[in-house]
């Protein structure tokens, strides 16, 4: 369908295992050719692949959008890489961007939506965050970047799980889910995850927003996802919010229910109160399309700086097709997707991941869009 080269972004602080994962990607016998954009030329680089240095050159666009920062180095490097493309045949099967632990993933992602040249040649596939089981809690405490990287990700790889107990892992996973209810968490020991859990995820692809089952650790909703045994491991594959786990989603059944980690009545599994978290909204009544669009536009225009990611599937009143959307800060993409199935439950779901989100206002605004 598209001949754009997919781009996968790897985030994670120093020591989380990015280099190990990169080396695995490059050395595995897959017959593919990757270009890897790294921050420093390190100990990677395999014959068939190209490793390029970049310098985290973040700049603001002059388009009046305050949060529209992009990575100038990526524009330059991607444009340069594209020159290697021969007529009719892609130069690379994929581009992998490795960021430093201090990198803000927002500008990296926005580069692929904002720059016309980059957008014409490449397509942001997904952002994977690596964290290591032993140090992640401390990093999340002291590093805003670490929290943002987790919150921004399409997939989280919880690495070095052999260095933590099952209890510790459960605590870590609960916190990761609080920061990011959308990204499946894959446990790994030496970044040993199947490549199809890192590449080709389609995290920004509207076509792939088929279902949303945010992984909330909702108090009082029975055996929650945060419990051991509900870890998303390699068996999840692409179907990363699959029903086969038998998750209890009963808590979505109430009209207009708001799921939140910070419900005052609920006991927290840990003492952390992160500034970033996911807020999940749902509504069982059809939504007024025009009103919803206006609300979403205004929300992103006013709060887009603090909203890292958003995704949703909306049941629009009078429309047989599902409205799907995804947003990165203020950049919004939406489309009418396939028709609702005859036996399918028609309901609207949206998840916002961001900083200091006002969940009550989000809920009220969302519900006010009811047709």
């Amino acid at each position: 369908m598209t001949d754009k080269i997919p781009v996968t972004v790897l985030t994670g602080y120093l020591g989380a295992g990015k280099t190990t994962l990169l080396n695995r990607i490059l050395t595995e016998d897959h017959g593919k050719r990757y270009a890897v954009i790294v921050n420093e030329f390190g100990e990677i680089g395999i014959d068939n692949d190209l490793v390029v240095g970049a310098d985290e050159d973040v700049f603001e666009m002059n388009n009046g959008c305050v949060c529209c920062t992009v990575r100038g180095d990526l524009i330059r490097v991607v444009s340069g890489l594209m020159k290697r493309q021969r007529p009719g045949q892609p130069a690379f099967d994929a581009i992998i961007v490795e960021t430093t632990g201090l990198a803000d993933p927002g500008p990296v992602a926005q580069t692929f939506f904002v720059d016309a040249d980059v957008q014409a040649k490449t397509q942001l596939d997904s952002v994977t965050a690596l964290v290591d089981a032993r140090h992640v809690m401390a990093r999340l405490d002291d590093s805003k970047e670490a929290r943002e990287q987790v919150a921004f990700a399409d997939r989280i790889i919880l690495n070095k799980t052999d260095l933590a107990s099952e209890d510790e892992l459960a605590t870590v996973e609960r916190r990761l889910r609080g920061l990011n209810p959308l990204a499946p968490i894959t446990r790994a020991v030496r970044a040993d995850v199947p490549l199809d859990q890192v590449l080709g995820l389609g995290g920004f692809d509207l076509e792939r927003i088929r279902d949303l089952h945010p992984e909330f650790d909702t108090p009082g909703s029975g055996p929650a996802h945060g419990e051991p045994g509900h870890v998303h491991d390699e068996h999840c594959g692409h179907d990363h919010h699959g029903h086969e786990h038998g998750h209890d989603h009963g808590h979505h059944d109430h009209d207009g229910e708001l799921d939140t980690l910070d419900s005052p009545s609920g006991a927290r599994g840990h003492a952390h109160q992160d500034d970033i978290r996911g807020v999940s909204l749902s509504l069982d009544r059809p939504i007024d399309g025009a009103r919803f669009t206006r609300w979403l536009d205004e929300l992103l225009a006013s709060k887009g700086q603090d909203i890292l990611r958003a995704k949703g599937i909306i049941d629009v009143h009078g429309e047989d097709r599902r409205l799907v959307f995804q947003a990165v800060h203020m950049i919004l993409e939406g489309d009418l997707q396939r028709e609702w199935g005859d036996t399918e439950r028609r309901w609207s779901r949206a998840v916002f991941i961001g900083r200091d989100l006002d969940e009550a206002a989000l809920k009220a605004g969302f519900e006010a869009c009811a047709a």
């Binding site: 390029v52 310098d55 700049f59 100038g72 020159k83 290697r84 007529p87």
Partner: protein, 326 residues
């Protein structure tokens, strides 16, 4: 017309004093006369005609700066990263190139001469002034002006917020122009640093070129070729641009070329076609009417007798203007 089909993506199409030269994404330099050199192990990222007029100087993603002539090739410099931009000054025999945040100057007459100018942000493009004494580096936040031969100096910063991706001096040296990442131009009058914003473009501006004895500057980035008046004390300040050769909104001009001394403007389109026009005339002369991949490189030789172009899909051509217009 002479047509070429290259099996790599073109980076540049230029005229040295003997004829057309193409530099490609496979690292090769190919002369229209048939000679071919594998100048780089990787892609050619930038190219300029050598100050001597013989052959071209290319920068590659292999970190090399290479001078390729029909019968010889020499590595002029090697850097750790990519060579992102190159410019040459025939008047002084200087060559400037950049890698990352550093712009460097070489002298073709003095192998030991080298200047390295550090910038706070990455250098995107370089240009010498018409006399070849000053060097402008387009970077984030404006353009840095350097005296090309002076070893230790602070640059004059021509400031304007945003990412500047191309740079050019007016032929009379009075104005400096940059193209920006977000589809606008910026200009400065060098005598007093008074600046002007030149906007309204629907697409990225990749090329700036000068014609009509330097009275006009042409740019790509619009549906037609955009012409800014440079005559008068204020240059384009307070003036409007005119657009020529606009057929509709279906395609945009991706490349322009002209010769400062002459009145022709050549334009390459995103749909692969190439036209030639005179600003005062009312018709387009199609140099290539075949539609296809976007034109990515275009040049006119100094006496405006010939135009060469290359498309992203490797299709390229050289055409004699006299026969094309007749």
């Amino acid at each position: 017309m002479t047509a070429f089909t290259f099996d790599a993506q073109p980076t540049a199409a230029l005229f040295d004093r003997q004829g057309a030269v193409f530099a490609l994404g496979d690292g090769s330099v190919r002369f229209a006369s048939g000679e071919r050199t594998e100048a780089h192990d990787g892609a050619v990222l930038c190219a300029a005609v050598h100050p001597s007029g013989d052959g071209i100087v290319t920068g590659g993603d292999d970190g090399k700066l290479v001078w390729t002539r029909r019968d010889a090739a020499a590595v002029l410099a090697t850097v750790k990263g990519w060579v992102d931009a190159v410019a040459a000054a025939p008047g002084t025999g200087l060559i400037a190139f950049s890698s990352g945040r550093t712009a460097s100057v070489l002298d073709v007459k003095d192998d030991l001469f080298r200047r390295d100018f550090a910038h706070e942000r990455t250098v995107a493009a370089l240009a010498f002034d018409p006399k070849g004494r000053r060097l402008a580096a387009a970077t984030y936040g404006g353009a840095a002006l350097w005296f090309a031969r002076i070893e230790s100096q602070k640059p004059t910063m021509m400031k304007w917020a945003g990412s500047h991706t191309a740079v050019a001096f007016a032929p009379d040296g009075r104005f400096l122009f940059t193209a920006m990442q977000d589809n606008q131009l910026h200009g400065w009058r060098l005598s007093d640093a008074k600046d002007m914003r030149m906007g309204g473009y629907p697409a990225r501006i990749r090329d700036m070129s000068f014609l009509a004895k330097g009275r006009l500057m042409a740019t790509s980035g619009a549906h037609g070729g955009v012409l800014w008046p440079l005559s008068g004390a204020n240059g384009p300040m307070g003036q409007s641009a005119i657009e020529i050769g606009r057929e509709g909104d279906d395609t945009v001009v991706t490349a322009v070329a002209s010769s400062p001394a002459h009145g022709y403007l050549a334009a390459g389109l995103a749909d692969g076609r190439v036209w030639l026009a005179e600003p005062a005339g009312d018709r387009l002369n199609w140099l290539s009417e075949d539609r296809g991949a976007p034109v990515v490189a275009l040049s006119m030789n100094a006496d405006a007798s010939s135009v060469c172009w290359a498309r992203e899909d490797g299709e390229a051509g050289v055409v004699d203007l006299q026969s094309a217009i007749a």
